[in-house]
Symmetry: C2
Subunit: 463 residues, 2 copies
């Protein structure tokens, strides 16, 4: 490289990007080409010239009208922005984040060491691997099928490994296209509605009711035990349903899920079931929609290691699309989803997949459940705190989320009050849909001392 | 766990999926709930009963008409299928794959050790990290900006880190929506056209011309030096352009790219420039579209570590969306792309991002270039082989692909002939568009001995 470096430093007009791209010199002379380059970069440099910055050139490409329908930013970046603004206002405040539901505890070593081994193997001839199957590595698909779905008629090839549930929600929406109608729990995880808006399945946002047109919002409140009154729900092509639910923390019973599957079957709808919190359940409600008879003919299940193994940054999830699930023309949904996975995705990181496989080993699974147990203890502490303050509190038992009711108050107002007076970041319930208005979601993901400190501050604020 | 295990083994009717999901018993008794479960699972078990399998239930959801437009499978899985079929026919054949362009050489240890360190850190309190910024970790975005784009007016916040170029191509299409028109080089990487079809930007596939309706195919042939005659190209909203090109291996010159940027500017088009092979270039053609004056007002650049560092399985790429790029209403394209990244994606794996950062360290970058140099040597060997056999050969000098001309013959016919007689997998040129008919792409990704062996077999077949 020394000669090249010399040539570069001696030709100050060469952009360092171009020097970066200098190819190994095993093909003909660089010196000559660099000489040529020098002149050219004289012209090129004006790219960055300030006077040009001022000219605002517009393309003739119309902005995607569906993107324009989206309200504000996606919820969680919005909360991150407000957290940052608060830190500017109170630089010395010890801010505790019980907001976006980000995991905080280290990943068990039995799992990280598997990722280390895989990363190391990639530096060896024997251990190197390039493109994997877009659907995921066979041993991982097999392990997921047998660990979570054995006896439920789900096989290895029904499992699609992904870089996370959020990505797969959008890939499913892309597979469904613009002409489907959809229903969601209200409140629910914003990615369902936002991805539907982006795909053009909805109408405009209606400020008065805080809803998008052409989406069926299935209201879930304490009055209906957070399970929608299906007799009042219109038929849609797709139904997104998350249980245990984010944000309410409620888990549907076997009877309720049986109703839901029968409802989907009666309407010929596709049920997209999000079970990302199933391992947090304390009671015997179903962990998978496929425990319900007939579900494989109407349901897809999305899940993730994010909240189980602390993989929020490692990125690894999966989606189950049973071969029995058919479009109205008899074409298997799995075939179209597979085409999307092969065309719009190239598989999850091989290192992350090795981590996930370790999560499903006996030791890995035990370690993972201990982390879950830790967060469940956090949840108990938060629930007891708000109970002791006389609040009506929901969720918690089957999910890492506590759903606190502030009757008659605005969620964002409570969010701001809590942030301003306790420096604790929560999530305003209305961010999950109009049905969340008057509630605040408190996440149980945090170090124990932070959970205890946050609860102490809540007690000071609301005593 | 022992008590739980005992309870499980004593209740044989419990589905193992359900046992898998048994939560830590820090919340009330399992024994009672399990007793309840046992009855319920009696009913549940029939889900898997064979008689039910036979009933083919169809939902009332119409299949996405755009998905139905897609021809056959995505090219590379299709080739993998044919390779597998060949192996069934010739179980003992030593098949050499110079087809899908999968990397084969180990990742330099300076890079994998960074991934090991990050994976290990995730098991510690200090080193653990959960959700990262959806756009990528700040140090990596900064390193990409300074390493590849300094002096080109591209800043850290113009860089979006992704899980690979293929995923970002689709995310860009989702951001653009269904109502844009698009142009592609013919031949070109199939993901551009297929993602456009999936988004509904195109008409039906026209068998006679082997093209989709409403796509502008910019023919690239030896006659026009593989650069389209822009005077014959109709205006489209989006222009996908890959240089160095996959599959032809040709790299556009500064003059040609200046023409292209002026063409986009004149038409108010958005140019999506794929520079995933830039580091393979041997001459002084631009490595980035942003070396061309004015490009930031019309261009997006997609790139990837896949073919640089052997990250085809690790999954890490990036997309540059300059703030100066505006839709016709003046809205910044970057804002909509950012919204897609935040709503439909959750950032690339943190372990992979640490690997990418190591790729950009002085040692990592040098090691990466040595791997590239190795593949470039492979390319030379393949080029010389086909030259010696009297074939017209294109590409090679600036890309890891050799584009071999078989005038008057069908690409798939040649693909089959080569596979049948030499057990070498190539890629039929027509798989990249009608303009690829009569060509075969030979990839230079392979161990040296396999490249030499494949070339020996080519010489036997075509001597």
């Amino acid at each position: 490289m020394s000669l090249m470096n010399h040539q570069l430093s001696s030709s100050s007009t060469i952009s360092s990007s171009s020097s970066t791209f200098l190819a190994p010199t095993d093909f003909n002379s660089r010196r000559k080409s660099i000489k040529v380059q020098v002149k050219k970069f004289g012209a090129c440099k004006c790219v960055a010239a300030p006077h040009e910055e001022k000219i605002a050139f517009k393309t003739k490409v119309s902005r995607n009208a569906n993107m324009a329908k989206l309200q504000a930013g996606y919820l969680f970046p919005e909360i991150a922005r407000r957290r940052a603004a608060h830190l500017l206002k109170y630089p010395d405040a010890k801010v505790i984040s019980l907001g976006i539901g980000d995991t905080t505890e280290p990943i068990p070593e039995v799992i990280t060491s598997a990722m280390e081994k895989r990363a190391n193997a990639l530096s060896t001839l024997e251990g190197y691997s390039g493109y994997g199957a877009e659907q995921g590595e066979k041993p991982l698909r097999a392990a997921i099928a047998s660990k979570f779905y054995s006896n439920l008629g789900i096989e290895e090839d029904d499992i699609f490994v992904s870089d996370g549930a959020k990505s797969d929600i959008s890939r499913l929406q892309v597979a469904f296209g613009s002409n489907v109608t959809m229903a969601v729990q209200d409140p629910s995880y914003p990615a369902y509605v936002d991805s539907s808006v982006i795909m053009g399945q909805t109408g405009q946002f209606q400020k008065d009711v805080q809803k998008y047109g052409n989406i069926e919002y299935m209201r879930c409140t304490p009055e209906n035990d957070f399970f929608p009154d299906l007799s009042k729900v219109s038929r849609t092509d797709v139904i997104f349903f998350c249980s245990p639910n984010n944000p309410t923390g409620s888990a549907a019973s076997r009877e309720q899920l049986t109703q839901l599957v029968q409802f989907a079957k009666k309407n010929g709808s596709i049920l997209v079931y999000d079970s990302a919190y199933a391992l947090y359940m304390s009671n015997d409600n179903p962990r998978s929609i496929f425990e319900i008879p007939g579900a494989r003919q109407v349901a897809i299940e999305i899940s993730s290691f994010s909240k189980y193994a602390g993989f929020t940054g490692v990125r690894l999830g999966w989606t189950v699309v049973p071969k029995e699930l058919l479009f109205s023309d008899g074409f298997p949904v799995a075939k179209d989803f597979n085409r999307i996975v092969c065309t719009c995705f190239n598989g999850a990181s091989n290192v992350a997949q090795s981590g996930a496989l370790a999560c499903l080993s006996p030791e890995g699974f035990k370690a993972m459940q201990e982390v879950i147990g830790f967060y469940k203890e956090n949840t108990k502490i938060i629930v007891e705190t708000f109970n002791s303050l006389g609040f009506k509190v929901y969720g918690g038992k089957n999910a890492p989320y506590v759903w606190v009711h502030f009757p008659g108050r605005s969620s964002w107002e409570v969010f701001s009050e809590v942030l301003e007076k306790t420096h604790v970041v929560t999530t305003p319930g209305s961010g999950f849909g109009p049905g969340g208005e008057g509630f605040v979601r408190v996440s149980a993901f945090g170090h124990r001392e932070n959970i205890l400190e946050a609860c102490k501050r809540f007690k000071q604020l609301y005593k």
